[in-house]
């Protein structure tokens, strides 16, 4: 996916100004997700679960080579084809070859953030393949030509009215169609697509090394269909998705579902260990299973001792849901597939800090994300790390750098500091409003009142 993260501030401003409905839709949806998460975790010892999940993920990541090879062997034993893709271009090449060899004309896709990351849809379309996103939210944004705005709910920035209008125009449904009717209209089209597709593409929530099992969590049944109906199934799995043992999986399915939507576990969980082929004369699952293990920046991030912990992410979206910054704009402001707090700390690692540097600053550092992350990614700490690097590399604006230099100079010279604090009270408002930082402060805020004596002056006069 193209990266537009450098325009974060501009994009955020445009969303708030031009589409105020986005803020309302995103806030309502994320608050509801978060309420459900809260109740789900109220039933059990969430802290112990988080400790455990953090431990398993950190162990898997620090022994990745061993577990990936183990998973590869298990998958191959069952007849799956395993591909290693170092870059997005490698994924493209693998898919292109497959499309040509199998003569693929139609593909159905299960929701996969990795497929957005490496740009599967534009590639397939360029190859003349008709692509159907089969998750309802993904289907909506595919019709709109938009990227997902949330890891779990790709269309949460759209209201029901938006979708009614969209479906009415594109699918001919009534302008006041109920959510059930809208889903029914999409289902009608997608059913045909499932039956006609020669290729199914999915991601993978987890890959179990011990058994070579790919686990997929969903609520709509479309992943089950996408991965079992077409003749060929391609699963794109990030190398960080590895879990050591099958025993780890059941707990991770629960931790992820509870953190994402508050469900005990997703409505459907598919566990895929190899191609199906034909059993007793009846076709049973795809004839071919291709598992593409995707790096695309992950190894580089793993080797970064100060930032690697972001790779523990299970893509539950809990940090997005609780984030007051994310709630104002939704994900499109961030200009990359991963948004919100996790996007701000993983995108610089996966892409580059140069292309994404404003993202670590897209946070008030309130710390709410760290409290909900099921694998205890120290997001605020990582935000600081990337901020420091952005400053060191000279990526941030000169104004902020000069201001901090000046401020630290004043703060180490108490008499100068005192003078500045007193001077603020006599500075005319007309001038204050034109000063670099205050100019931006007064976009939507009154000037703070700095009248009367400073505390220092009061103290000198004596406090009764």
């Amino acid at each position: 996916m193209e990266v537009h993260s450098r325009d974060y501030a501009k994009r955020a401003r445009a969303i708030l100004r031009d589409t105020p409905g986005v803020r309302e839709a995103v806030t309502a949806a994320t608050r509801s997700f978060d309420d459900h998460r809260r109740s789900a975790f109220a039933e059990l010892d969430g802290e112990a679960l988080r400790d455990w999940a953090e431990g398993v993920k950190s162990h898997a990541l620090t022994h990745l080579d061993r577990y990936l090879e183990q998973a590869e062997s298990r998958l191959m034993e069952r007849g799956a084809h395993v591909h290693w893709a170092e870059t997005a271009e490698d994924v493209h090449r693998i898919l292109r070859e497959l499309v040509e060899r199998e003569g693929v004309r139609r593909a159905v896709k299960a929701k996969s953030m990795l497929s957005e990351e490496v740009g599967v849809n534009p590639l397939l379309e360029a190859e003349g393949v008709e692509v159907f996103e089969t998750d309802l939210g993904e289907y909506i944004i595919q019709l709109l030509g938009e990227p997902p705005s949330h890891i779990v709910g790709p269309a949460i920035h759209r209201s029901l009215e938006d979708t009614q209008a969209l479906f009415s125009e594109r699918l001919g449904t009534a302008t006041d169609a109920s959510p059930e009717e809208l889903a029914g209209a999409a289902r009608g089209i997608l059913r045909e697509a499932f039956l006609a597709a020669d290729l199914g593409i999915s991601g993978g929530n987890f890959l179990v090394a011990e058994t070579g099992s790919i686990a997929l969590i969903e609520n709509e049944g479309n992943i089950r269909m996408s991965t079992s109906l077409p003749r060929v199934h391609v699963a794109l799995v990030g190398i960080e998705k590895i879990l050591p043992r099958l025993a780890d999986l059941s707990t991770f399915l629960q931790v992820t579902s509870k953190s994402a939507t508050g469900q005990p576990v997703g409505t459907f969980v598919s566990i895929i260990q190899g191609p199906g082929g034909s059993r007793g004369g009846e076709p049973d699952g795809p004839e071919e299973l291709h598992v593409v293990l995707v790096d695309n920046g992950r190894t580089r991030l793993l080797a970064d001792p100060e930032a690697w912990e972001a790779l523990r992410c299970v893509r539950c979206g809990a940090c997005l849901n609780i984030c007051p910054v994310y709630r104002q704009t939704g994900g499109h402001a961030y200009g990359y597939v991963y948004s919100g707090p996790i996007g701000a700390v993983i995108s610089p690692g996966l892409v580059s800090l140069e292309e994404t540097f404003p993202l670590p600053f897209a946070s008030s550092l309130c710390g709410a994300c760290a409290e909900v992350c099921p694998v205890r990614i120290p997001i605020p700490h990582l935000l600081h790390t990337w901020r420091e690097r952005a400053v060191e590399q000279g990526l941030t604006e000169g104004t902020a750098r000069s201001l901090m230099k000046g401020w630290s100079r004043a703060a180490t010279h108490p008499r100068l500091f005192d003078w500045i604090e007193r001077a603020m009270a006599v500075l005319p408002d007309g001038i204050s409003r034109r000063l670099p930082m205050l100019r931006d402060w007064t976009r939507g805020r009154s000037l703070p009142r700095a009248t009367g004596p400073t505390f220092r002056e009061i103290w000198k006069d004596g406090i009764e």
Partner: protein, 234 residues
């Protein structure tokens, strides 16, 4: 008992009277208050914006100025968190960190005082929890307890623990997002006379936004409100 007051840059300039109220309150609790004149800013603006050398310089300065303090008390949750939680990380040493407290935290946890007086009888207050007091210092009960014991009714506010949108430079780098966050706080505010917070940064943010929108709301620092509770006592 003797404490050194670290008034913070925002407290010195924007909440000078509130900071004086903190002194009055502490003195009324038989605490001797000292104010080391060389103090300036704790370094948080630089730390939060990724300017590590500058943040370190300010932290070193603060340590030097306050080195003889028995306790350091700050009328600010986020600056207290800076001293307690960030300095050890920034400087690799803990001096001062274990002796630094946010005002309400100090009164309840160190002085062991749970009631100040009944000077807030009949008042309806909304309390805004600053993020760093709440999530870094773990200060949640202390201010609420002191306000309630003063006779105030704390009105339930579903957004009382959500960020106000200040975030230091964040507020000027992305003013539209920052003010939208303030609006979420203000638009969910229940009927209350006054919004109280331990953090000057949060109060500046919420008050400046409310005034810009022409909302008629009163904002008050925790220090002044607690002093009111105390002063009104028989």
């Amino acid at each position: 008992m003797k404490v050194s007051l670290f008034v913070t840059c925002i407290g010195d300039r924007f909440y000078a009277e509130a900071s004086a109220d903190a002194v009055r309150l502490l003195r009324s609790l038989d605490v001797e208050v000292d104010f080391p004149m060389g103090q300036t800013c704790c370094g948080q603006p630089a730390w939060n914006s990724g300017h590590l050398p500058e943040a370190r310089r300010m932290a070193e300065h603060t340590l030097a100025v306050l080195k003889d303090a028995e306790y350091v008390v700050l009328p600010s949750g986020s600056c207290a968190a800076m001293l307690r939680c960030t300095y050890p990380h920034l400087l690799g040493r803990r001096e001062l960190s274990d002796r630094s407290y946010e005002l309400a935290q100090f009164i309840v946890d160190i002085l062991g005082v749970h009631e100040l007086g009944r000077g807030l009888e009949g008042r309806r207050l909304a309390y805004h929890h600053g993020c760093h007091a709440l999530r870094e210092l773990g200060v949640r009960e202390q201010p609420e307890q002191l306000l309630r014991s003063g006779g105030a009714e704390l009105v339930p506010w579903e957004m009382d623990q959500e960020c106000c949108g200040f975030g230091g430079l964040f507020s000027v780098k992305t003013p539209e997002v920052s003010t939208a966050m303030a609006d979420r706080k203000l638009d969910t505010l229940p009927a209350a006379e006054t919004i109280v917070s331990a953090d000057g940064g949060c109060l500046l943010q919420l008050e400046s936004r409310a005034r810009y929108r022409g909302l008629n709301l009163e904002f008050r620092s925790l220090a002044s409100t607690l002093w009111e509770a105390r002063r009104g006592s028989p």
